[in-house]
């Protein structure tokens, strides 16, 4: 094979896979209403996501397995600890941080922030993540 025929296969193959990827992306979007229930993304959930980003929780925790691996998974934290359990931890965190080892730093969380995070976690908990994680420990 000459250099130019290899180049043409390379361009053609890349183009074809890109088209397939775009089609799959379209189909993925089509599945989101059912899998993620966007109708449940309330103002609280949106605020919760903003608080999640403000304190960059993802750089210690994982969310559906993505993030740092220093602290527990939070995509299913409502299943694991219950709404009240999560709320209690956040309230203690707002006062003086949480935990005995690998402590969570004290974050300035208002009542609104805590409500938002709880609603955000509740919404995440209902996302269809193909039966992941394998058990409630995440």
């Amino acid at each position: 094979m000459t250099k130019s025929s290899v180049r043409n296969i390379c361009i053609g193959g890349s183009g074809l896979t890109l088209v397939i990827f775009l089609v799959l992306t379209y189909l993925t979007h089509a599945s989101f209403p059912e899998r993620t229930h966007p109708e449940n993304i309330s103002e609280e959930v949106v605020w919760g996501k903003k608080v999640w980003e403000k304190h960059v929780c993802i750089d210690c925790h994982t969310l559906l397995g993505e993030g740092a691996y220093y602290a527990p998974e939070l995509g299913n934290v409502i299943t694991r600890l219950g709404e009240e359990g999560v709320r209690e931890i956040l309230e203690i965190t707002a006062e003086h941080g949480w935990g005995g080892t690998r402590r969570m730093p004290q974050f300035d969380l208002s009542e609104k922030d805590i409500d938002g995070l709880v609603e955000f976690f509740k919404w995440m908990n209902n996302v269809n993540a193909s039966n992941w994680p394998p058990n409630k420990e995440g």
Binding site: M1, T2, K3, V6, R7, I9, C10, G13, S14, T17, L18, I20, F21, L24, T28, S31, F32, R35, T36, P38, I41, V45, K49, K50, W52, E53, V56, C57, I58, D59, C60, T62, L63, L64, G65, E66, G67, A68, Y69, Y70, P72, E73, G97, T101, R102, R103, P105, Q106, M124, V127, N128, A129, S130, W132, P133, P134, N135, K136, E137, G138
Partner: protein, 442 residues
């Protein structure tokens, strides 16, 4: 071999900045490695999340400095003409350095955005886009003005253009976290398992042509094979990140069938380097540069290729997703592919820019083996940590923090090899900077 065009000298500050930021990256790596063992270390002044953010951001910034320096060095020789604008390159250098340093210092004061790896505040993101556009403009104009447009230079330019375009997804922050995650991967995956591989392959092609003297026609055929394999496997291969984040189950089929072949471009890079060596027409005196060049093809195959392959099937990934297995793969892949290709280029280009034969060969070889072996064992320690974590947490259902206590030994090993890695880097940096004194202007 001496450099051939005066404007190639502009690559030098990029390489110096890359090395200094690399040192910074490793300092913060040691901090988080230590925090895994002694969680109260530097707490709460520099908590884990801040140090990790800096560790990874510094990595990305110094690698891009390295890619840019490599490009400024190789483009004039490839197109046979001076750089379009040295002034623009220098401006772009200082702007990028200021942006990078501001971001990192800002992180220490909790000035950051909230998505993993894309923590740069909005204004810094804008600055990055401007810097990359300045760079792309400069390289494009140089190619237009130059006598030749080689496949190596075209692939390199496409790599950078792709990198700039994909980074635009960093500005997209939808309210739906699942949509957010889906598009986040278009930056993260399609950078490191897509366009960065083009940049790596193009630099590799340049180095192998220079170091072996083998025919360009042979090299660039390999280059297109690598680019083709990268995109054909890697674009749909993005799907291996979509198994468990709320995207449809069909990704488990598409993602798996394409991503298992993502090892092929790295296998092709090994074949490429050995094919070129077998066809060599000269014996280059810079053995250290050859060692790093061949080394990067092998280590990227192991770290990115094999270690990626190990957990890319959904049947396995269901259990390993989000554990230390990912961390082990990440460390070995970034080191093997991108760190080593930049060091290979530095080891080749910097002595040329200084009119030296080579850096201290003995020091370089010691640094090479110390860093490579340390990173291999660091990766293996984290693999061990991951296996135990999967068994305890995912199979037995032990709580996360309890499982972590049982992994402490592996974190200790990882920290130990982190220290030996730092020693290797120290030798390299000492040689890099101390040999600068004997620099002669030619």
């Amino acid at each position: 071999m001496k450099y051939q065009y005066e404007s190639q000298q502009v690559a030098y500050p990029f390489f110096v900045a890359a090395m200094l930021l690399f040192a910074g990256q490793i300092v913060f790596g040691l901090i988080i490695g230590a925090q895994y063992m002694w969680p109260d270390f530097l707490f709460p002044a520099i908590p884990f999340h801040i140090a990790r953010m800096i560790h990874i951001n510094l990595l990305v910034v110094w690698l891009i400095f390295g890619f840019m320096g490599s490009t400024y060095y190789l483009i004039p020789e490839e197109v046979e003409g001076e750089l379009y604008s040295v002034k623009l390159a220098i401006t772009q250098f200082w702007l990028f350095l200021a942006g990078g340093v501001t971001a990192v210092v800002g992180y220490l004061f909790r000035w950051h955005d909230g998505r993993e790896f894309l923590e740069q505040p909005f204004i810094i993101k804008v600055a990055i886009v401007i810097v990359v556009l300045m760079f792309i403009y400069n390289i494009s104009m140089t190619m237009l003005k130059g006598k030749k447009r080689t496949s190596t230079s075209i692939v390199l330019l496409i790599g950078f253009i792709g990198m700039a375009l994909l980074y635009l997804f960093a500005f997209f922050k939808p309210d739906n976290m699942i949509v957010d995650k889906y598009y986040w991967w278009l930056v993260v995956h399609l950078w490191v398992e897509g366009v960065w591989e083009l940049i790596m392959a193009a630099i590799l092609s340049f180095l192998l042509i220079k170091l072996t003297g083998a025919e360009r026609e042979v090299a660039e055929k390999w280059l297109y094979i690598i680019v083709g394999l990268t995109f054909i496997t890697g674009i749909i291969g993005t799907g291996h990140h979509y198994y468990w984040i709320g995207a449809p189950e069909f990704w488990q089929t598409w993602g798996a069938w394409f991503s298992v072949f993502e090892v092929l471009p790295f296998a092709a890079m090994i074949a490429f380097s050995f094919d070129m060596l077998s066809k060599k027409t000269r014996s280059h005196q810079n053995k250290a540069a050859i060692l790093w060049t061949v080394g990067t093809t092998i280590m990227s195959f192991v770290g990115a290729g094999v270690w990626g392959f190990l957990h890319t099937m959904p049947q396995i990934n269901y259990y390993t997703h989000g554990t230390q297995i990912t961390a082990s793969h990440g460390h070995m892949a970034f080191f093997g592919a991108y760190v080593m290709i930049v060091i290979a280029m530095i080891s080749y280009a910097v002595p040329n820019l200084r009119n030296q034969e080579s850096l201290n060969q003995k020091a370089e070889v010691i640094a090479f083996w110390t860093m490579v072996i340390s990173m291999l064992f660091m990766g293996l320690s984290l693999t061990g940590a991951g296996i135990v974590q999967v068994y305890l947490q995912r199979i037995l259902g032990m709580p996360f923090m309890e499982a972590q206590e049982h992994i402490a030994l592996f974190y200790g090993l990882r920290f130990f090899f982190g220290i030996t890695f730092t020693l290797g880097l120290g030798i390299y940096l000492y040689d890099f900077f101390s040999s600068a004194k004997s620099r002669t202007k030619g």
